[in-house]
Every structure is written in C-alpha cells, then in structure tokens.
C-alpha cells in the first residue's frame, strides 16, 4: 500500500496500476469527463507529450511484481508528470524548444531513475518556457499553457505545465526545476505546493542545464506531505553530479515528524513588502503571517539590505551560465540540423538561428557579453561579489531566525500577453524568488489564499540543508489553514 497519509498518493493501489493509468490515458471522447489528462491538455495545454506506451508497460510490470508478492516501492503505480527538460525514456525530451523538438534521450535523469525505483510512473512531459527561460510559460516554442484558475492568464513559469497539471489534479505530483523561481512562481500562480530544495540536494544529472550554479530540481504537489515524500525519494548524493550533497539522515518523509510553529522564530523579509506589492497579495500574505503569529511563532521584521540587488545579480550570472550551457546545441551531433548550410560556420549559425527562440538568444547574447574580455570584471565578477554578500546576509539572518517569510511574487497570475513584449517587466516577476537560488537555500511556495479569485503563495525560506525543518514548518502552516 502507498503511504496512507499522503493525500493524493493514496488514491492509487499498486494492485491496479494499469487500470489507474488507463484512467489517465483513455482517449475515448465519450468518457472525456473522466479523462483528466485530456481535459487538462485540451483546455490548458499543460503537457507536450505523453509516455503512454512505456508507462503502461511499467504499470504492468509493477502489477506483475505485486501479484508475485515482490517489492514494488513506496510510490508504486503513482503517476507523475516531468517537466520536459528532464531526460526520460519512452518519448521525446524537448525542453520546449525547436532545437530539441525531435530529441530522444539516450539516458534518464537520476531523479527519474530514483522515482522509478520506488515504482512511480512518468506518464507525460510538461510544458515549460523553452530551456526554462521565463516566468510565464509563454516562451515555450510550442504553445502557451493556461492558468487552471483563469484561462486568460499565465500559469507562471518556467515550470508552468507542471504546476497547472498539479492544480488540475491530473496527477498527484509533478517535477519542476527552479533556477530563479521556476517552481515556486508557477506553484504560487496555480495554487500548488512548490518546493525548491537546498542546492545540490537532488542530482541535476540528466536535466537540461539552465544555470548550473542555481539549478535545482524539486516537486510540485497538492500537499506538503506529498512534496516531502517525493523529495525523500529523489534526494541524496549522486556520483553523476559532483555538486550533490548528502541527504539528511532522518530523511524528509514527514510522517514521523512533528513540527510546531510555537518554537519557531520567523523573520518577515522587509524588502519584499516595498511598493510594487499588489494590495491583494499583501493582504493574503499579511493574514497568513497573522495566523503563524497566532499559532505561537515568534515573528518580527528583518532586513536583508542587499536583496534588491539579487535580481540584477541573477540576470548577470544566469545568462552567463545559460550562454555556456547552450553552447553544445550546435546541430552537429543531435538536435536541429541546418540542412541548407553550405559550410561549418553557416551550419552553426543556421542551426542556432533556427533552433533557438528569442528569449534563448537574448540570454545567450547577454551572457556572452558579460563574460567577454573587458566586461567580465565589471559584470560577472562584480555580480559574484554581490552574490557572496547576499549569501552572508542570509547566513546572518538565520543566526536570529529559523525561517524567513514573504510573498513569492508581487502579483497574482498576469494576463497572457501582458508582459511578453517587455522582457524587463517579465524579469521583474522573479524579484522575490531569485535570492534563494543565489544563496542556494531551500524555499517553498505554499498556497496561502486567494486574491481576486487567484491563488497567492506564501514563501518560506530556510537555511542551507534545513529542508526537513522547512518542510515541517510548511506542513504546520498548511494545517493552520484547514
């Protein structure tokens, strides 16, 4: 049996994996009301492709093993959706880009392998901003995913497809990547739990790299418990990723934990309540903090004066790493190949011209510029200096506080097309999420309420490697709501 206390996970019985999966894959239009995947896809464009054949094969295998009384794992038969920048078998891995639109992965991401080892089944690949560049999923080279709460609005990004799929109850959990807020922002916009672990806690092996020094992999789920269980399965040192760290020996499964808000010291990040914060969001977050206070936590305001610089730092370091990480997509060994090219130089130019969208090109140019000789010291090096300062300010704050809280985003989900023409406005969406990435600390977005019928997420940030405690306090907050 699955973990009984995991709200969504216990819908599935490992004895009926195939039946359960057929429920997702059934494409008979007469029973379309029962087919979550199709509804989600038809109206919200949450997924790019399904991995139906392989998923059904794996489900049959798990059924078979269960029948024989074999070990089936803690997530046996639980379907999930992976953001399409995770390399998976059974279909294509596109990163929502034209460059990789026909790419079939020769190996699987470590995170996927670990989930499969516990019996989870990847059924589809979620839409994203191409290469995870964006905050709205509008940068997908294929189509825009719509917000489950309002089809005219964006789901947030870049893990927009994953967040929408969870919010639509398509699956109990989805995987996302968070480089500057890409899990937390869409979780906040769609009303899901989105968890960004400590940098290095989950292996990045087999995930299309965006900015390697801030990329993390994490779950989007309906409850903190589910997110914690998925993290429990995915986390830990991986010999394929040298930046991975050991997991907490006590694990992250919250079944046995009992975190109390009363004993916590919580700092409200002053800089996140400046002008620019929508009144509706401010109200929901204020109420959430009020509840935490009422529950007995010691709450006070804290200032991290360098936080306003975090976005500038991020938009130097991130494009620099993006320009480097995208250099391998030259059309020579895999990916989009420019057939008309007459020589090598043209082949490079055309493959990249045709295979990359506007945002990828923008970041490659910014990145190449800040790394170029003569500009490196002024941009990249200075950004690293400020980064160190931000890390230190967080460390100082965590000497006084167990956790820091604030909004995830200054606004609720915005209209599709609203910011697409103005990259700067789009970048500003990340203003409250990037700092956690820059500092490598864990952070969670947890639904706190609605503003004008749109979800608002509360962000809780913990010190490095405090993932177990952070999930615990998030669960305690979750329980306050109900």
């Amino acid at each position: 049996m699955l973990n009984a206390q995991c709200s969504m996970l216990n819908e599935y019985s490992n004895k009926q994996c195939v039946n359960a999966l057929n429920y997702w894959f059934n494409d008979n239009s007469l029973i379309i009301d029962n087919c979550r995947l199709i509804i989600a896809q038809k109206d919200f464009d949450a997924v790019i492709s399904t991995t139906k054949e392989r998923a059904l094969e794996r489900a049959a295998e798990i059924d078979e093993r269960a029948k024989k009384g074999g070990k089936v794992g803690r997530l046996a038969g639980v379907p999930f959706i992976a953001k399409d920048n995770f390399l998976t078998f059974g279909g294509k891995t596109t990163a929502a880009s034209n460059m990789l639109k026909d790419y079939e992965a020769p190996y699987q991401a470590t995170a996927i392998n670990k989930l499969e080892a516990e019996g989870a089944i990847c059924i589809a690949k979620a839409n994203l901003d191409a290469w995870a560049h964006g905050s709205s999923t509008e940068n997908s080279d294929f189509f825009v995913t719509k917000n489950p709460h309002d089809k005219t609005r964006v789901p947030g990004g870049s893990s927009g497809g994953s967040a929408a799929a969870v919010a639509l109850d398509m699956i109990p959990f989805a995987l996302g990547t968070d480089t500057g807020g890409s899990i937390r922002l869409p979780a906040s916009f769609c009303g899901a739990v989105g968890y960004k672990p400590t940098y290095g806690l989950v292996s990045r092996s087999g995930v299309v790299a965006m900015a390697s020094s801030t990329d993390v992999i994490g779950p989007l789920a309906t409850t903190v418990d589910d997110a914690a269980l998925v993290l429990e399965v995915m986390s830990g040192k991986d010999e394929l990723d040298s930046t991975t760290i050991d997991r907490n020996p006590e694990g992250y499964d919250l079944q046995t934990s009992n975190f109390k808000l009363q004993t916590s010291k919580i700092g409200i990040i002053k800089e996140y309540f400046d002008e620019g914060l929508e009144p509706g969001v401010k109200k929901v977050i204020g109420e959430a903090i009020g509840k935490i206070k009422t529950a007995g936590a010691e709450v006070s305001e804290v200032s991290l004066p360098s936080l306003p610089l975090a976005l500038a730092v991020y938009y130097i370091i991130c494009p620099a790493e993006v320009s480097s990480n995208l250099a391998r997509y030259d059309g020579q060994r895999y990916g989009h190949f420019a057939r008309e090219a007459k020589d090598l130089a043209e082949s490079y130019e055309q493959a990249r011209e045709q295979g990359f969208g506007a945002e990828a090109k923008r970041r490659i140019m910014i990145g190449a510029h800040v790394l170029s000789s003569g500009y490196y010291d002024a941009y990249y090096k200075k950004a690293q200096t400020v980064r160190t300062k931000i890390i230190k300010e967080f460390a100082d704050a965590f000497k006084k506080y167990d956790f820091l809280v604030g909004p995830v985003s200054p606004t609720t989900a915005f209209k599709i097309g609203e910011k697409v023409g103005d990259p700067l406005q789009m970048y500003l969406v990340d203003i409250m999420t990037v700092a956690a990435n820059i500092a490598g600390v864990p952070a969670i977005s947890i639904p706190a309420g609605l503003a004008d019928n749109l979800p608002v997420g509360l962000q809780i940030i913990g010190p490095q490697k405090s993932d177990r405690e952070l999930l615990g306090v998030a669960k305690a907050f979750e329980e306050l709501k109900s």
Binding site: Y107, A211, S212, T243
Partner: protein, 482 residues
C-alpha cells in the same frame, strides 16, 4: 649584423597526456591508441543534454606527482574554468580547463647543454581536457570527427621564457619528457602525441626587451622542437635585418621541409569568455594527501643519473639509457645485484642496435624477471675472458628473448661461443697455422708485424671463432720467437 647580435627568447607550453585509466570527467577508457573511432565515448564526451562532468581523482594524483617532480607543491586549492569556442571536436562548446587557479603554480626543471647547467622556471601547469580529433578525407565534401580523445586528461605545463636557444629548447623538451615519464605521470608515447609542444619564439637586440613573438603549435618530437626554434630565430632575425616586422601569429611547422609557415585564419585574438565551471567543486588538497604521494614517488632522472654514474660509462651512454625508461629498472637491478662491471656489459648489450630493435618489437625487458644468478654467470664469463663481449650479447639475447631455461654456460656451449683458452690446444693449432703459411711467416719475420693479424684470423677460423684472439696472438708471437 648577424644572428649573434640578437637574443632569442623561447617559452614552451607542453601538453602532457596523463596516464589515467579513464578520462578526466567520464568513466570511459583513456587509451585510444588501438580503438576504432568513437568507441571510447559516453554521454559526457558527446556533450549530451544534462550530462555532467565528474572529476577523475586519479588525474589529481598524477598532477600532484608532476608538481613534486617539478620541485614544487601542488596548490592546496584550485578550480576549473570553461573556455568557450565552437569547433566540431569540442562537443560542449567549451573546454574544461584551469585559468585563474591552476593546480601547479611554479616549479623548475634543470637542463644541461654543452656541459652548462641551467634552471628553467615553470610558470604554471593547468589540468584540462583534450578535444576530439577532426579528419578531413582528401577530396571529400565532409569531415570526420572522432571523440575518443575528447576528455582525455592533459596537464599543460607552461615554462617561463627562460630558454634562449634551439639546443636549450630541445634539452628542456627532453628533460620534461624524462621527468614526466619517470614520475609516472604519462606514458610519454610521443608518436601518439602524449606530449605536444607549443613554442613561443621572439628575438630582440636589446636583451632586456622582448621582441614580437610567434607561436608554433603541436610539435611532437624533440627534434622538431629544436628545428622549429632554430628556424623561427633565423626567420625573425632575417626579417628584422631587412627592417621588416615580425607579426604576432601562430605558424604551422612543416616537418618535411623544416620550415614554419603562416597559417590562414583570423588574426584577431579569440575571446574565450572564461567562466568558473559550476559543475565541478574546487579541488582541495590536504597536506597528508600530498605527503602520501611524495612518499611513493619513484626515482627521477637526476637520481637515476647519479646511480648510473657508478657504472663506468660515458654521460652520453647514461643519457641513452635514460631515454629508454623501460630498461632502467633492469639496469639498476643488475647494478645492485651483480655490480658495475656486470651492469656495464648489460648496458652495451641492451643498447646494441640489434637488441634495441628486438626490444622495440617485443618489449620483453620490462616484463621479464631476469634470473640474477644466470646473468651474473654470463657477465662473469665475459669478464673472465671465457666469452667475447659479442658472444656475451648473443647469449644475453638468447637468455632474454629465447625460450630456453638453460644457463649461459650451456647456451654458449650449444651455440659454440665459448672461447678456446686452453693453452695446449691453442699451441697445437698455432703450430699448424704457422706451418701452413710459410710465406706470411717470412713476411712477419721480415718486419711486417701487421701480418700477425692474418695468422690470428686463421686460428680463429680453425676454431670456428671460439679462440680467444688475445691468447692466439700471444702464442703466435711466442712460437715465432718475436
């Protein structure tokens, strides 16, 4: 004005291929000498999305050895950078190398030219990955890329511009090869490019100022290093003498014509957009680790030279022995166990062209465990005059490369190589020869002493070459009353 009015200055960058079992960042075989193209590759070598480099610790140990061999310590803290450029043999679009903090940041190498000792300082040495290999089949409208070599660990050793002649350049290249080879850092197979030299040459009339330099890359023999430096010095002086300018450029070396040629290509300096490698944590070495390696360091050329000097041979012969690292342990063991006289004989046998050729083909000297008692018997026989030095070599050859388990005495007997030193028997034969050659005897008595040689030859012929020629001559003189 002549060439002697100019001071040439030369700096050499040497790429040393480390003899690790696997590549620098991938668990794939490192020795591509016998492998079919693209058979020693993995996701990492091909630069597949999501593939992360994982540092091979064995390479770090070899770097530490290299540092110690160069008379310095490996750096306690070093890190990797990405060096960006587009080329088909560079799958990721960047090379992982070290730029700001290389693993070796100093050291020196002693060389000797015309009995003058000189110390060449090492500026730095960085650990980096090799690129693949492009081939351009003649007449074809395509090129081929072999990635077997991509990711092979290289230590790039950069000398200070302390070299001032072609002979010094050659001596430096050779001494560096010897040092790296004996330190166990590289297999040092020059034919397969295990050591490649890039030379930077400039000339100046003012010895305090450096002239404009040109660079010649990828030289793979000491001879070509010497030739290229000599040619560049001459070329540059001739240009300056004609009041022309030396262009700062990279030139190619035509080994057949012994000429450097300007290479076509961009003249502008390429901007590699160096960036810290975020996928590999910095390398930290603790003192204990370095001391452990130091304690296991094998003898290096200066020590081996000292040991070999115990044997009474020319320095030139010692260098010839050093040039064949494979035979050094054997020679030193003979020296230790059987003494210098024995070792001296062994050296001459081993260095004999015939044996050298056999050794090149079969490489047995490094594999055999010579029977010291047998070897001692053999060298004793020669030293006692029972066997000529030449016959000794033949027995030695049989001992090493033959399939016999006989003792040298038996082999010599079987091959009829034993010298006849039995007085009585020799006297009989000498008497015979004298009576058979009255005319020669007459000549000798008339003062043509040279003709004795003819009689000695006759004695040798009678004994099938087994006579001790010294004894034969002595007896002839005696019987002729000379």
């Amino acid at each position: 004005m002549s060439i002697s009015d100019y001071t040439p200055t030369v700096g050499i960058e040497t790429h040393v291929q480390l003899k690790t079992k696997t590549k620098l960042f991938a668990a794939v075989g490192n020795d591509a000498r016998q492998a079919a193209p693209n058979t020693l590759i993995s996701h990492i070598c091909v630069g597949v999305p999501g593939a992360l480099p994982v540092l091979n610790e064995a390479a770090i140990e070899l770097c530490a050895r290299a540092a110690l061999a160069l008379g310095t310590e490996p750096q306690k803290l070093s890190h990797f950078e990405r060096k960006h450029y587009f080329y088909p043999d560079l799958p990721k679009g960047y090379q992982i190398t070290q730029y700001e903090s290389p693993i070796i940041a100093g050291g020196h190498l002693h060389i000797e030219v015309d009995d003058l000792k000189k110390c060449i300082s090492i500026e730095r040495a960085n650990l980096e990955e090799d690129a693949g290999k492009n081939t351009h089949p003649a007449g074809a409208d395509y090129s081929l890329v072999d990635l077997n070599r991509a990711g092979t660990p290289l230590l790039e050793i950069v000398s200070m511009p302390d070299i001032h002649s072609a002979a010094e350049a050659k001596a430096y290249a050779r001494e560096l090869w010897l040092t790296m080879k004996y330190a166990g850092v590289t297999d040092g197979d020059l034919y397969h490019g295990h050591m490649r030299f890039d030379i930077n040459v400039s000339v100046s009339k003012d010895s305090k100022k450096l002239g404009t330099r040109s660079e010649i890359k990828n030289l793979n023999s000491f001879r070509s290093v010497e030739g290229a430096v000599a040619y560049e010095i001459k070329r540059q002086v001739e240009l300056l003498e004609k009041s022309q300018k030396v262009v700062q450029e990279t030139r190619g070396w035509d080994e057949a014509k012994q000429k450097s040629l300007a290479q076509r290509g961009k003249e502008e300096a390429e901007d590699y957009r160096y960036m810290p490698e975020p996928d590999i944590p910095p390398v930290e070495l603790v003192d204990k680790y370095v001391r452990n390696i130091e304690n296991k360091m094998p003898d290096l050329p200066p020590v081996i030279r000292m040991k070999l000097r115990e044997i009474d041979v020319d320095n030139k012969v010692i260098e010839e022995v050093l040039d064949r690292p494979i035979i050094v342990p054997t020679v030193l063991e003979i020296l230790g166990k059987n003494g210098p006289k024995s070792a001296r004989l062994a050296i001459f046998w081993i260095l004999h062209p015939q044996l050298a050729e056999l050794e090149t083909k079969q490489g047995k000297l490094s594999q055999i465990d010579p029977d010291w008692k047998k070897l001692k018997q053999l060298t004793d026989m020669v030293n006692e005059g029972k066997l000529s030095s030449n016959s000794g070599r033949i027995v030695f050859k049989e001992l090493i490369y033959g399939s016999t388990s006989d003792w040298p005495k038996e082999i010599a007997k079987r091959l009829k190589l034993l010298q006849v030193s039995d007085q009585a028997e020799m006297e009989k034969m000498v008497a015979e020869v004298i009576s058979q050659n009255p005319k020669v005897v007459k000549d000798i008595k008339a003062g043509q002493e040279k003709a004795i040689g003819f009689l000695v030859g006759q004695v040798m012929a009678k004994t099938g070459g087994q006579a001790n020629p010294g004894l034969a001559q002595q007896l002839i003189k005696k019987q002729l009353g000379l």
